[in-house]
Amino acid sequence: MRYAYYPGCSLHATAREYDQSTREVCGALGIELVEIPDWGCCGATSAHSTSHLLSVALPARNLALAGSMGLDITVPCAACYQRLRYAQIELEQNEAVREKVARVTGTAYDSKVDVKSLLEVVVGLAPETLKSKIVRPLDALKAVCYYGCLLVRPPRVTGFDDPEDPQIMDNLLRTCGAGVLDWGYKTECCGASMGISNEEVTLKLVRDILRVAEKAGADCLVTACPLCQNNLDSRQTHVNRAFGASFEIPVLYFTQLIGLALGIEPGRLGFNSHFVPTDKILKLIT
């Protein structure tokens, strides 16, 4: 199984551990990732809040690059995934946009490339593939899965899971043996890029998420989005200072936990590059 791999800017910078763990886990599960040569920005919030054309044209170029590789794309980052999917749908349904984009990118859209989130790709494996390779079940771990606002929304764009009560990550971690807890904040907003322009707003939102996770009895939060992870992990000390709280909840990528279950050495999964120490998680899984 081969995929064109679109890491997006985060996975080469703040979310290196997501990139590392993705490559490790995919390697172990027989998913071959071929990084798209000369991939460019997905446009992110900046593009779609300023220019509709730009927000479609930037992902369209990446779709075209993958097309020339003859491979479907897989995207670990929730925001990149959503932008690429959105562009794909827009190009398929809106002829005027399709023509404009072809003009500015110099490549006509051909609809052969499919865009899948990394979660979908892992879940799409035969059920036994993952199960049979688990050597260190996550039995002792109690986790809450945090999907954030983009991964399963809007359903007309993403469409692979329930927008109100998604289950895909929960089930994946249950397969790895983890005790996955039900909680009410699966799809709340983490503040996203407001962390840069208005930290006050983000701190409150992060505080609420951490509070509900703690109350649910979670040892860790699990995400599939680099921005969510960054906000929840790096801002915990700010939150504690601002609200007089004492949160210390590790925030992990689902790939890191699958990697642990597959017996991959924690250092190769980026467990050492978190703001909130991850030792207590590693102690639980041995």
Partner: protein
Amino acid sequence: MPRIGVFVCWCGSNIGGVIDCPKLATDAVNLPGVVYSTEYKYMCSEPGQNSIIQAIRDHRLDRVVVASCSPRLHEETFRKTLARAGLNPYLLEMANIREHCTWVHNKEPEKAQAKSLALVSRAVAKANLLEPLFPSSIPMTKRCLVIGGGIAGIQTALDVADAGHEVILVEREPTIGGNMVKLDKTFPTLDCSACISTPKMVAVSTHPNITLYTYSEVAGVDGYIGNFEVTIRCKVSYVDHTKCTGCGDCQAKCPTKVSNEFNLGLDTRKAIYIPFPQAVPNKPVIDAANCRYFTTGKCKICQKICAAGAIDYEQQETIITEKVGAIVVATGYQLFDWAAAYGEYGYGRFPDVVTGMHFERLVNAAGPTGGKILRPSDQTEPKTVVFVKCVGSRDPAKGKEYCSRACCMYTAKHAHQVLEKVPGAKVYIFYIDVRTPGKAYEEFYQRTISDGAVYVRGRVSKIYQLGDKLVVRGSDTLLGRPVEVEADMVVLASAMVSSGGIEDVARMVSVQVDKDGWLQEAHPKLRPVETHTGGVFLAGTCQGPKDIPDTVAQASAAASKVSGLLFREELATDPMISTVNQAICTGCGLCVPVCPYQAVELKTITERIPGHAPRERTVASVNSGLCQGCGACNVACRPGAIQVKGFSNDELVAEVDAICL
């Protein structure tokens, strides 16, 4: 040559304010066949009608054209006017220059004037060809079927029976009573629902004119107004109700417990059960799907314990046929399945998020908690209760577009009950609008506010569990900010939707289902309990959401319509129905499947032509009791043998010519 009179109505300013009615009347005189033409402010009023009668006499008119409103409104009125003048009432033709012209073209009076004249020309062209029509008569079976034994069906059955007619009441559940008997107190007077409905249930079971079939379903309806033949399927109860004394020993000793649907799953019942202590009939049925004997082959405890020997595991389903003259559909409502639609409220996985009907059972002295408000998860008394209105109502994205009408009031009642029964309780009600259109309703709502209920105007966007609390997040659109309430229990006012199986009932009695799934009445204002199928009436919430007072009023209205019908010895039929010219009918049978009322059938006739031996031939035949004059057969008929009286092909072509040529 016919002598046609044209009567133009102003309808006050509805028509007269847009077009020049005197000019229209003057122009109409020049149309072929017209010998007299006039106009008047209100043609339907007494002086207006009298002027028509006078003109018929003075000018020896034999056809009348009235240019006014829709024939749906006043065709009957003017037909009676013609009859009073001694003319056959079907020599009337109406030109609808109000709904079809001045109402929609009121900004373009000149064009409206021209269109009005075109519409009048059409009517005159048809009037030239009108023939007198005569109704025939069919006999009347003086019995009535009522489908559904909720409060609507009960009230209809009692009223019709009290008027002296026989009633067959069919209910699919083991007891009558419907939704109302599950309720606790009823707004706005707070009288106990059981105290006012159970006596009526007893009255049904003891009334000499009522035959009650519970645990039974209507399986088929044949025939037509005055002469329906109804097939009723009596489900197997495995208890011989003629022997059973209703002692309840079987229920006490039965070893199998299953979720109790009467209490919406809040407690359990046995596999042999009487739904609730005041059930009518007060006799048990066996739920074979859960009975230990039927599932494992061993047990028979109920049979051993029954002193009357009433338990019969070999009992078979029975089919009964009954002849009736009228049918009342009173199949009621059920609650919208919010759990399937509202993920943001938890898809039903939080036990303390319940519906208003659950709350009714929780607060009911005969309910699973003995009337103590206890939340389902841990049986503790909730101190903070949030009510969410319009769950599935007024929400086309997830539920229904319409307002369910009863929820504002029952939520006010629930809030009042929480504040009354739970000391120090806090109650928050999220709402879009508060609608209290009913006698003493607004006063009740104001009383709930003064009791201390906090009304928050805004929708709830999310409910989630946080420890043992439910966090309800919504917006307060008056404050303009989001709000969160930590609640112990949340009660959803879920929408009313028509009860399951309504499509089957609708098909059997040939009544339309509207876009929202309710049964379609003949006219929303003027014929609210009748349907477009003769002899079939509607009562209660099968026609649309209603509270109890409106349901009972409508049930009595249906009963009075039925009684009026059943008092007749025979029935005049509408003569504007299909007729077959058997001489040119080829017997192809295309008209049979297109008829929505099963009114056309093929029959064999013996044809006698002088000089030839008699020969047999198949031709179409129309049942005048069933035919509603829709004309579908007319369109399907290739040789033109079927015509609708009053809408013959010649008449229709003349109308088209008058407008188009």
